[in-house]
């Protein structure tokens, strides 16, 4: 009961901060509210008893990726004033369409697979990190390897770009 | 004959840096147990070496007469132009007929070079070992004849900091104030 109240609070914060990310014109504020959004998502994961995912959410997204984002924002000094360009109507319409498409896709995926509100599966609750590792190396081995290959390509590309300048 | 200069080639251990780091840590650890060199100033006082040039004094004869004859050699020698003397006829009998009516030294201008000491034909002005005579106002740091004579009384035994270490330490008052 009190947990569901907590869920609504945290969910509200998550949605609110997500909207704030989009609406704010100050890039640093956007980044901070995105971090806040990640934190509230992590709390929601905790409520689902998915501890590993919750901690990884903070560790990887809030702790590493957003720090890089902030780093770049500060390095390019986008922080102050409105450094963001204004979009024309065609661009706005296109982006709106894409966003709608994205949401419809997610919605269809959710209904199709397990219904709107799936229950946490037993094995993920109890085992901590073991079922995650097992799933990654058996059922999802191909996507996992493809993702790592993609990261490797990006890494080599970065090294190449950095080397050429010198 | 040409000399062969060997350039420094770091060995494997040098490149690892860890032995050097350990040596550095050992050095600081040794210092951890070494005797501290700090002088706890207001409680203990640093005793300056022989010939230290601190606060000035005006010397007196044993019977109390001032040695200075107001010849103004010192103020002429002074590179900082900080000695101001007003001479007058001496009130005492015998020998020297001049003496300083006023003798002011601006301690804020003085650079403690000791030229006045060297210029003085009567060995009347001398620099003492007193170094702690700070004060709150500029006016207080202009020392007059009475003050300078009082410094002589304080330092004539050459042991201002050794003898008076404890009694003088507690009072912040400098001889100038009196």
């Amino acid at each position: 009961m009190s947990l569901s109240l907590l869920f609504y609070c945290v969910g509200g914060i998550a949605i609110g901060s997500a909207i704030f990310v989009v609406l704010n014109r100050n890039a640093v504020y956007s980044a901070i509210s995105l971090v806040l959004c990640f934190f509230s998502l992590a709390v929601i994961y905790l409520l689902l008893e998915a501890y590993v995912i919750a901690v990884l959410e903070i560790f990887i997204y809030a702790g590493a990726i957003m720090v890089l984002f902030l780093f770049v924002i500060m390095l390019l000094n986008l922080g102050r004033e409105d450094a963001l360009p204004n979009l024309n109507y065609l661009q706005r319409a296109t982006s709106l369409l894409l966003v709608l498409l994205f949401f419809v896709g997610i919605f269809l995926l959710m209904i199709g697979d397990q219904g709107l509100f799936p229950q946490p599966t037993e094995q993920f609750v109890a085992g901590g990190i073991y079922p995650l590792g097992e799933a990654l190396f058996s059922k999802y081995l191909l996507p996992f390897e493809v993702a790592s290959l993609l990261l490797l390509v990006a890494l080599i590309g970065t090294v190449y770009l950095a080397k050429r300048k010198v | 004959m040409a000399t062969i200069i060997k350039s420094y080639e770091p060995t494997f251990w040098d490149k690892l840096y860890l032995p050097a780091l350990m040596r550095g840590l050992i050095v600081t650890f040794r210092h951890f147990f070494r005797r501290n060199v700090t002088i706890q100033y207001p409680d203990q006082k640093h005793i300056p070496p022989e010939g230290y040039r601190g606060l000035h004094r005006l010397n007196k004869f044993p019977e109390g007469r001032i040695k200075c004859v107001a010849c103004e050699m010192c103020s002429a020698a002074c590179p900082a132009d900080c000695i101001h003397i007003i001479p007058g006829p001496s009130p005492w009998d015998g020998g020297k007929e001049r003496y300083p009516v006023r003798f002011d030294i601006d301690l804020l201008r003085c650079i403690f070079c000791g030229f006045c000491e060297m210029a003085c034909p009567e060995e009347a002005i001398e620099l003492t070992e007193i170094y702690d005579f700070s004060d709150y106002t500029r006016d207080d740091l202009v020392i007059d004849k009475e003050g300078l004579l009082e410094v002589y009384d304080l330092t004539k035994d050459q042991n201002y900091y050794t003898k008076n270490n404890l009694s003088k330490a507690s009072s912040v008052d400098t001889p100038i104030d009196t």
Binding site: V28, I32, V35, Y51, V52, V55, L56, I58, F59, A62, G63, A64, V67, L68, L70, F71, M74, L75, G79, G128, I129 | L21, G24, L25, V27, T28, F29, H31, F32, F33, R34, R35, N36, V37, T38, Q40
Partner: protein, 344 residues
């Protein structure tokens, strides 16, 4: 949860919080005294016996100082940044076990605030959060030196977090668990079962990375008084400035505790079975934990007053070209060893 259980948790939280804050006070005093001794000086010795009340005097001074907020700073973030830094620093200690368990009121109480089954990940996650405090403080100050300090620290933390995480992975491989208590149990026995003897390379990498993560010399590039004035806390004064320092020392205490937990057997007293000794054993384990942590805190200070600061490019080179490959190699070695052991 019943009332007793709740009370026990509250007491544990309070004790750990108070111990950390006390540790911060002790560290402020120790840092000044030890640094003084290492430079053949005396250090603060006027306030209280041998100056032990100096940190309190410092605290009062910080409280009385004017709390300046410069005109052109980004106010909300400027005020928030010290808190963002301090809170994760204080939160991290929650999962670190500081002793074996004791029996009180007819139940077994683990000397640890929360026994999270992903404990080590929790610690790593929170340490990665603390960089926000520094970065945002640097950015919101509207001062080029502060901004540079913030930028440096964000780049530095990302570089060293990787090496640190990978060094920890080899420990996790050995223990087979992310729970800190399991890692300690895995190291129990004689001296030689401590992870520093089983994973010396990982220990070295972890120790260096920890110094970078806590922004201590030789990696304090985000402060770098000589070049950046004071780095990210140039514009801060009064209690906000004090909070930065409290966070730094709290981070050091947590880092030392984590080093002890991962590599020195945590609260484990070598060659002794704490469980069989009852309450005395538990006290002994707490004492051993405190002593080990104290040694690492001393090491922090010792290193600070021994080594000069790294240059920025040297820091990056060490992180990416030396520590990261070494850590990966170490994981490879550990994995190979475990595979061979599993095969027979």
């Amino acid at each position: 949860m019943d009332l007793l259980g709740f009370t026990i948790i509250v007491v544990k939280v309070l004790v750990v919080f108070a111990a950390t804050m006390l540790g911060v006070l002790v560290m402020i005093y120790a840092e000044r005294r030890v640094s003084a001794f290492m430079q053949d000086r005396v250090g603060p010795n006027r306030v209280g016996f041998k100056g032990v009340l100096q940190p309190i005097a410092d605290g009062i001074k910080f409280l009385m100082k004017e709390d300046l907020v410069p005109e052109r700073v980004d106010k909300p973030i400027f005020i928030l940044a010290p808190a963002i830094l301090l809170i994760p620093a204080l939160m991290t200690f929650a999962v670190i076990p500081f002793g074996s368990s004791i029996n009180l009121f007819g139940r077994e109480i683990a000397l640890q605030v929360a026994d999270v089954n992903v404990g080590i990940l929790y610690v790593l996650a929170l340490t990665s959060i603390s960089v926000y405090g520094i970065v945002l403080a640097g950015w919101s100050s509207n001062n080029k030196y502060s901004l540079l300090g913030g930028l440096r620290s964000s780049a530095q933390l990302i570089s060293y977090e990787l090496a640190m995480g990978l060094a920890v992975v080899s420990i996790i491989l050995l223990a087979g668990s992310l729970r800190l208590n399991d890692i300690i149990t895995d190291q129990q026995g004689s001296f030689l079962s401590w992870n520093i003897f089983r994973q010396p390379l990982a220990f070295l990498i972890f120790l260096i990375a920890v110094y970078a993560e806590t922004n201590r010399l030789p990696f304090d590039l985000s402060e770098a008084e000589q070049e950046l004035v004071g780095g990210y806390h140039t514009e801060y004064s009064s209690m906000k400035f004090a909070m930065f320092f409290m966070a730094e020392y709290a981070n050091m205490i947590t880092a030392a505790a984590l080093t002890v937990t991962l590599f020195f057997g945590g609260w484990d007293v070598p060659l002794l079975d704490e469980g069989s000794l009852g309450l005395f054993g538990a006290l002994l384990s707490v004492l051993s934990f405190i002593l080990k942590v104290a040694f690492f805190l001393f090491l922090f200070i010792w290193v600070r007053w021994t080594f000069p600061r790294f240059r920025y490019d040297q820091l990056m080179r060490l992180g990416w070209k030396v520590m990261l490959p070494l850590a990966l190699f170490n994981i490879f070695l550990t994995g190979g060893y475990l595979t061979i052991k599993a095969l027979g």
